[in-house]
Symmetry: C2
Subunit: 94 residues, 2 copies
């Protein structure tokens, strides 16, 4: 496999490698959410949440749609959830 493909794949894993971003993915598993919903549940600045969302968006894991004043995010790379659940099972065994 090419170096470039490994680099691109790495970007996906890097995008997921943060507690806040994993929380966002978990919430999105059950359907779209607007930015304000994440801000309400996370104890971080709204600008920080926005930057985490843009990391996931740039990686192609989620997409955004503006409706009125709000921006809604949707999970497109659904297999992240499958893997995430596998990790949970794995962690429970230890």
């Amino acid at each position: 496999m090419s170096k470039d493909l490994y680099r691109k794949k790495t970007q996906i894993f890097k995008a997921l490698a943060h507690p806040t971003r994993l929380f966002i993915i978990d919430k999105l598993e059950n359907g779209e959410c607007c930015v304000c919903e994440f801000v309400n549940e996370l104890d971080v600045d709204f600008s920080t949440v926005s930057k985490h969302l843009s990391v996931l968006k740039n990686a192609g894991i989620i997409i955004d749609e503006k409706r009125g004043q709000q921006v809604y995010y949707t999970l497109v790379m659904r297999c992240v959830c499958t893997f995430s659940h596998c990790i949970e099972t794995f962690l429970n065994k230890e």
Copy 2:
């Protein structure tokens, strides 16, 4: 889900988020390898390879076994491969 679980899950993703470590995982999909095999195929210092292996080992993704002078590594978190293939499919679509 607890903050601690998110932190632990993040460690798994961080451990995977490097081109060299993804290459290692790919090779291990087909069975165990010794450190020297990775060093031969990667254009980095052997101490660097060793440190990447220890990152994966500490995350519980691979395990090691010493036989003679050599150390062999085996992939235990096999679902990483499934996800890795999903990402490849995803990247090919774009």
